[in-house]
């Protein structure tokens, strides 16, 4: 198992779930990622990723009531767990440290 290590896509999905708050579910995550990364993200990939994140204990899910726009069908709402939040924070800190290592180089 990969343990706490998560890939780039997993990190993005985890961040999206965190950012969307109560509104995080398959479609909203997919739409947000597609809008922000301007690359085509498949719903299947998002599902697979969310499943893995849940398996690793980084997110949790619960069924929530549906809206008319989805024909009243229920949706699976995701939220970031405490572990997930810790992972995100540590990843962010890692990045910031690494940026500080090379302060003199021009960004981009």
């Amino acid at each position: 198992m990969k343990g706490d290590h998560i890939g780039e896509f997993e990190e993005l999905v985890l961040l999206a779930v965190h950012g969307l708050g109560d509104e995080a579910y398959g479609v909203s995550v997919q739409q947000l990622l597609e809008r922000e990364t301007t690359r085509s993200v498949s719903l299947g990939a998002v599902y697979a990723c969310l499943d893995r994140l849940e398996h690793k204990g980084l997110v949790r899910s619960a069924l929530a009531p549906g809206t008319p726009v989805r024909g009243g069908r229920s949706r699976r709402a995701f939220g970031v767990t405490a572990t997930g939040l810790r992972t995100l924070t540590s990843l962010q800190k890692l990045r910031e440290r690494l940026w500080r290592v090379a302060p003199s180089r021009p960004r981009g």
Partner: protein, 887 residues
């Protein structure tokens, strides 16, 4: 478009999702899919893009579900870390992306495969559609299996009219039966007269077919008479064109051949019997349409439970009871109507269907060969995948997916091409079978052919894939270092090549035989020339041109007017031209004053009328005596001209017939002097030799009945054909504006028309043969090229050990030739059997000669050597050092 409407269009696939997802997740996934669809739709995504995105979503979901299932089943396998995948497990959409990448990387391979398959699909779907529509599908009438054609039924001639014997209806064999014959009528349409296709049909025909009119009713037996109160049925097309679909058509008169008919009904659209017909009239309403004699065909509906054979037997028994002489050609015969109607195209279509089946077989095997060589080339990749834990099923799936993608591309191309192919076939069946539409390709047929191709490609690509996948990884890796790999596939490929060579030989031989037959027929002397001559027909309504005098007067005036048309050098007329659908009348002819010898069969000749210049304009040679003169008119001594065959039959002792007297027809006292002998004319085309007994009367003594054909000798280059046509119509309009000129055509088209169907079938056959030959050559080339690239090491070692290049070259070409010869050994007997089988249903096809067989074999071996050339050259260029080191 509103959101609501888009909503209604979302394709629902719960069954699919339920198969791959846990039940608890189906609802939420469906909800997500619908929400995405709506979001995209309201963002203005187009219909097609919307669907593509949807399919992608569904595929992605299925892929993810699969991956999740695999991950839980093999917890140690490498789980994909992100949207992309590693070697272990990956979803269908990834496979698809991988396959597309592979295809893009080798565009030539993809192009050849797709083109080959598309061609095969197009040709076979087109031909199979035609076969299905014309031969297999039942006629579009209720209970079509009970519809029959009746040959030589018992007739009655009561009250001077020919009709089916009333016994036939009393017999209980048939529930309905009637006479019909095709023809045409002049229709007075306002200012202009037009010629429309028409038919006479007794009420029994409609009752037998069982198709009621959409407006009005059928006419009845009581209305079948030549009187004031004549009736007609019209087609849906004529109702639209002439009456604007006005239901009041039943109260308005229709002027046919100068007489008023009452329309009693309008047949529904699509009703075409016999052939494309606009007007139906009862047989005795107008004798003109059927010509001098009533050559009727008979359609009937069998009573329930009566078979055609039983009906035939019953009719023959009647004949025997009445003591009618049992002449085989005069025997009654009841056959399914469908068979009778398709008799003309049946054999050709079957021949084409069998040929195209062979082409399809070769196409599939060739695609399989291409796939195989691909698999062989990627052998190392597969071995590596297996070693790294790729499952057998996954490897097979990759290959299957690749075949599938290529097949789908080919199918799209094939669908487009099939329409073109069908148009060719439609041209073959110039006179389509009644009620059969050859317009569009049958989607089911396309799907079937497509399916066959896909299954074939899949099967062939699966076999080696499974073989590759099932190899023990360690063994396989070791095998890459040796030359033994792929030996079994090689034989598989060689077997395919041999089969292709055999198929090519069969098609070459058969198409060669078809070409030979066409060549022989096109050399047959038809008895008439086709210089710069133009012909056209006019129909003379009996209401105004009923007497010989009026017809002769019309001819004289028309002759004068046509001769004055600029560019026309000579004018002549006759009753029946070669190639006309209506035959001349066969009459019995005897030597005058000599009672016929009862022991000898009577001599019948086709009775024709000819104007003085007819033989000259038509290029019919006058062998003896003289042509007709303008003085051979009513009142002058009766004269005739006979064809050579007639002369031989009448005077077998070979004496000069000039000056002899003959009597012909019913009036035995009417004798005429033979003034000339002309060459035989094959009125029905080159395949009808031996039916050329003709007896010509001067047109001014015996004018043709009802219709006249003019032939014009035109000064070549004087005027364009369009101008000539206009001038001719104008000249005739001045004489009688109610007479439409029709069938205006160069006489040369008459001769070419006889062989048009033969020519088209032949060109299709040879196209198939060339296609097969090319496919076989590609197959052989591919097989040898693969062999050479596999044996680089061996070849390198041989060269290093001192084998000269010529020897290496020879060994490759020898293998190619060996495969071709094995194909010949297999193909020659098959071609012989095929030719015999084909002759059974295409009697006009000459059997392939030994010469032709030899020629085809030489061509085949030549092509094989040519196809071996490049691989052989490549073999000689192997650098021994490089070859050995590269392994």
């Amino acid at each position: 478009m509103t959101r609501g409407r888009r909503f209604s269009h979302i394709p629902s696939v719960p069954w699919l999702l339920r198969r791959v997802l846990r039940a608890s997740r189906v609802e939420e996934v469906e909800g997500d899919l619908e929400e995405l669809w709506t979001a995209r739709a309201s963002a203005g995504v187009g219909r097609v893009a919307l669907r593509i995105a949807y399919v992608r979503d569904v595929a992605g979901v299925i892929g993810a579900a699969h991956a999740a299932r695999n991950a839980s089943r093999h917890p140690t396998s490498v789980a994909p870390a992100d949207g992309r995948t590693g070697m272990g497990t990956f979803g269908m959409s990834h496979d698809l992306r991988y396959v597309l990448r592979m295809i893009r990387r080798q565009p030539l391979f993809a192009a050849v495969t797709v083109a080959t398959l598309a061609l095969g699909i197009a040709a076979s779907a087109g031909i199979f559609t035609a076969v299905d529509r014309l031969l297999l599908r039942p006629l579009p009438y209720p209970e079509p299996e009970r519809l029959v054609a009746i040959e030589n039924p018992p007739y009655s001639f009561a009250r001077g009219r020919m009709d089916l014997s009333p016994r036939i209806m009393r017999s209980g064999l048939f529930t309905a039966a009637g006479l019909y014959a095709e023809g045409g009528v002049n229709l007075d349409a306002g200012s202009d007269a037009v010629r429309v296709p028409a038919a006479v049909a007794s009420p029994g025909v409609f009752a037998a077919l069982g198709v009621p009119p959409q407006v009005g009713r059928w006419y009845t037996a009581d209305e079948d008479q030549d009187g004031a109160n004549t009736v007609a049925l019209i087609s849906d097309g004529l109702w639209s064109r002439q009456f604007g679909r006005d239901p009041a058509v039943l109260t308005r008169p229709l002027h046919i051949n100068g007489r008023a008919f009452r329309v009693v009904g309008v047949m529904p659209g699509g009703f075409q019997f016999p052939g494309r017909t606009d007007v139906w009239i009862p047989p005795f309403a107008d004798r003109q349409i059927t010509g001098q004699a009533f050559f009727a065909q008979v359609a009937g509906r069998l009573a329930p439970g009566v078979s055609p054979a039983a009906a035939t037997d019953a009719l023959i028994r009647w004949n025997e009871e009445r003591g009618t002489p049992a002449d085989a050609s005069q025997m009654p015969k009841v056959t399914p109507l469908h068979e009778e109607l398709t008799a003309r195209v049946r054999s050709t279509l079957l021949l084409l269907a069998i040929s195209i089946g062979l082409v399809l077989l070769v196409t599939c095997s060739n695609v399989a060969g291409l796939m195989l060589s691909r698999v062989a080339r990627r052998h190392d990749e597969f071995v590596l995948r297996r070693a790294l834990g790729g499952s057998r099923w996954r490897l097979a799936r990759l290959l299957l997916l690749e075949s599938l993608v290529l097949s789908l591309l080919a199918g799209a191309g094939g669908a487009a091409g099939a329409t073109v192919a069908l148009r060719w076939v439609a041209a073959l069946a110039t006179d389509p079978v009644p009620g059969v539409d050859l317009g569009a390709v049958d989607l089911r047929m396309l799907a079937i052919v497509f399916g066959i191709s896909i299954v074939a490609a899949l099967l062939f690509s699966l076999a080696p894939a499974v073989a590759a996948a099932s190899q023990q990884a360690a063994l396989a890796i070791r095998a890459t270092a040796t030359t033994t790999r792929g030996r079994s596939w090689r034989w598989f490929r060689h077997a395919i090549v041999i089969g292709q060579m055999a198929s090519a030989l069969v098609l070459l031989t058969v198409s060669g035989a078809a070409f030979g037959t066409l060549d022989r027929l096109s050399r047959v002397d038809l008895g008439f020339g086709s210089g710069s001559t133009t012909a056209f027909d006019v129909s003379l309504p009996l209401s105004r041109y009923g007497s010989p005098a009026t017809a002769i007067d019309f001819h004289d005036r028309a002759h004068e007017a046509l001769a004055a048309v600029p560019g026309v050098t000579r004018v002549a007329a006759t009753g029946v031209l070669p190639g006309d659908t209506s035959t001349g009348v066969g009459i019995r002819v005897e030597r005058a004053g000599q009672p016929a010898d009862p022991s000898r069969p009577p001599i019948f000749a086709t009775m024709l009328s000819a104007a003085p210049d007819y033989f000259g304009v038509m290029g019919i040679a006058v062998a003896r005596g003289r042509p007709f003169r303008s003085t051979d008119r009513i009142g002058a001594p009766a004269v005739v001209i006979v064809s050579e065959s007639t002369a031989q039959a009448l005077w077998p002792d070979g004496r000069d017939p000039i000056g002899e007297r003959v009597s012909a027809g019913l009036v035995k006292t009417a004798q005429a002097e033979v003034v000339g002998v002309v060459s035989d004319v094959l009125l029905r085309g080159p395949a009808t030799t031996g039916h050329a007994r003709q007896l010509y009367y001067p047109l001014a003594q015996q004018p043709p009945y009802g219709a006249m054909s003019f032939v014009l000798e035109v000064d070549a280059g004087a005027a364009s054909s369009a101008t000539l046509a206009r001038e001719v119509r104008e000249a005739l309009r001045r004489i009688d504006p109610s007479l439409p000129v029709y069938n205006l055509r160069p006489v040369s088209t008459i001769a070419s028309g006889f062989l048009a169907a033969h020519r088209l079938a032949m060109s299709l056959m040879s196209t198939f043969a060339v296609m097969t030959l090319a496919l076989a050559a590609v197959g052989l080339y591919g097989s040898l090229a693969q062999l050479v690239s596999q044996q680089r090491r061996e070849i390198g070692i041989r060269i290093a050990l001192g084998a000269d290049q010529a020897r290496v070259w020879r060994s490759v070409v020898a293998l190619g030739t060996k495969l071709a010869v094995m194909g010949l050994v297999l193909g020659v007997p098959i071609a012989g059997i095929a030719a015999r089988l084909i002759r059974a249903f295409v009697p006009s096809l000459d059997p392939p000669s030994a010469m032709l067989m030899t020629l085809s074999s030489v061509v085949l071996v030549g092509v094989a050597v040519a196809a071996s050339w490049i691989p052989a050259r490549r073999a000689t260029q192997v650098d021994p050092l490089m070859a050995v080191r590269s392994e």
